[in-house]
Amino acid sequence: MSTTVFDQAQPLAPRAALLPSLGAVYRAQLSRARVARIPLLFVATFQSIGILVMMRGVVGAHDTEAARDVVAGSAVLVVAFVALNLFAQYFGRLRATGGLDHYATLPVPPASVVLGTAGAYASFTVPGTLVTAAVGCAMFQLPWVHVWILLAVIPLAGAALAGVGAALGLLAPRQEIATLLGQLGMSAALLLGVLPASHMPEAIRWLRDLLPSTYGVEAFARTFTARPDWALVTADLAVCAVVSVLSLALATWAYRKAATRA
């Protein structure tokens, strides 16, 4: 009987493949920047530059641990603002307004939607992060020969934070809570990333170690020294990469759960 039904059943249209649909989502999301995101990127960049100016009042220039942390933390903060805060808001809104139905009724792998969107959001942050790093290096008189490391830090820290942001947005019971959680995550990235770790109490330092952006900040901060320890930089980036995989897997699971809330 089941064979009979199968013979008569309409053949299913093909699924959208992972990479092409990831590309399509990425391209569509990137185009949103022209419409909606540019003002927010200015906000993100000015916020980080404002923190640099403020910290310059209390931290001396030149190659001190504090100066390195402030510059690296402010630059990665741009990523945290966009990837964590805005991303949580975006998915929170999409879920609350029924926008997820659009994707859920297309034969597209959840990972394509999450990764494509996360990739686009991480890309938005590139100019702001580079500008913040350049301004920071100038203000604190740090060398910028290794600023290129940001090209590794942005996608890795961006992916890790975007995964967390998406999961917060998709799992929060209400849109306002998604916004609130995104904001809290960003505040944590701000306080724990910009302030030098050696000045923190033990408990706060543990919390700092739990935050994915910390490893991006540390990787970047290490490259300001005269002779960077590349093994440690690589290790930090590796932690970012592992957390990225985990957090994006979490986000994909959350998407699946939110899209088919049965």
Binding site: A13, A28, R32, H102, L106
Partner: protein, 340 residues
């Protein structure tokens, strides 16, 4: 023994014949929601045992007021919600067991456009086509065709969020058409559209039906739309289907009766015996009285209210043949919510 086999074989043959002609079968679908929290939570039955059959190639409608359970039913057909109980089969596939297959069988136009709002019309359609599994080249061709078909050219470069409600709806409809599907599920597709856009929608639907034999499931609360475009319609009220037939067949249920609408200038002159007699039978909505009656009595009533003191108090009147709204009322549906 042989008798038993024959009996067993017959329904099987019948099922086999039916599956070729049937696009979608819904059996006893029940879906409840919890409303409120904690002790105050109450359970609402959005769908209370719905069964229906949609034939291949027909335009089938779900008509009912807001909150009747139409969208809930559609969300189960599209695999977005799982029914509490009951079965749903689309083109030979069990959608309750394999909700993911719905996306590969049907195109869905929901009521919301937030996923596409910040994209340009062109990119929204092209991206949707890509995510529907089309290659880059095929998606570009499909987009160009849809933009052309729906005359979206002048607004193709503008983001959806900056369009009027009707234009945005048309763009989303375009996205639903990008990439072929044997079943189109359209939830109130023409909301906010001007007559030109509405016509574009119905021509596009008709073209797909004639050229590809596509089946269309349409959700609407617009009576005129239901009467003009649907092959068959299921009338939904409070989570149940209260009737299912062709619009003509449904209207035959109230055949022989006509509707007389009287609109008074202000208060109805109930001191007149004729008007006082009508007061008991008319359904009153503000200054408007609606009376359902047979054509002969209607003619007499019109003659009487259009002379003397009754006519002086009368602002407007109309006599009309029954519509699906009358059917809906006859079947005991609530009055509010249908759009004429």
């Amino acid at each position: 023994m042989s008798t038993v086999e024959t009996v067993a074989a017959e329904p099987r043959a019948a099922t086999a014949a039916a599956t070729t002609a049937v696009c979608c079968t819904v059996r006893d679908v029940v879906k409840s929601y919890r409303v409120g929290r904690g002790a105050k939570a109450t359970e609402v039955r959005a769908n209370d045992g719905i069964s229906l059959e949609i034939r291949r190639g027909e335009v089938f409608g779900l008509l009912g007021p807001n909150g009747a359970g139409k969208s809930t039913l559609v969300r189960q057909l599209t695999g977005l919600l799982r029914p509490d109980s009951g079965s749903i089969e689309i083109l030979g596939h069990d959608i309750v067991r394999h909700p993911d297959r719905a996306a590969r069988l049907l195109a869905y136009l929901g009521q919301e456009s937030t996923a596409l709002d910040e994209l340009t019309v062109h990119l929204a359609i092209e991206t949707t086509a890509r995510l529907r599994g089309l290659s880059a080249a095929a998606a570009r061709t499909a987009t160009a065709d849809v933009v052309d078909e729906l005359a979206l050219g002048p607004i193709a470069g503008r983001p959806l969020a900056r369009l009027s409600g009707g234009q945005r709806r048309l763009a989303c409809f375009g996205a639903a058409l990008a990439g072929p599907r044997p079943l189109l599920v359209l939830d109130e597709p023409t909301t906010g559209m001007d007559p030109v856009a509405r016509r574009a929608v119905w021509s596009a639907v008709d073209r797909r039906r004639r050229a590809d034999g596509a089946t269309v499931l349409l959700v609407t609360h617009n009576v005129i739309e239901a009467e003009t475009v649907l092959d068959r319609v299921a009338v939904v009220d409070e989570g149940r289907i209260i009737a299912c037939d062709t619009p003509g067949g449904l209207k035959a249920m109230v055949d022989g009766s006509v509707r007389l609408d009287l609109v008074w200038r202000d208060e109805a002159p109930t001191n007149l015996p004729l008007v006082a007699a009508l007061a008991g039978r008319a359904s009153v909505s503000g200054r408007r009285w609606t009376v359902r009656t047979d054509p002969d009595e209607a003619r007499e009533l019109v003659a009487e209210v259009t002379r003397g003191p009754a006519f002086a108090a009368l602002d407007d009147f109309s006599l009309s043949t029954p519509s699906l709204e009358d059917v809906y009322l006859l079947l005991g549906g609530r009055h509010e919510g249908l759009e004429k």
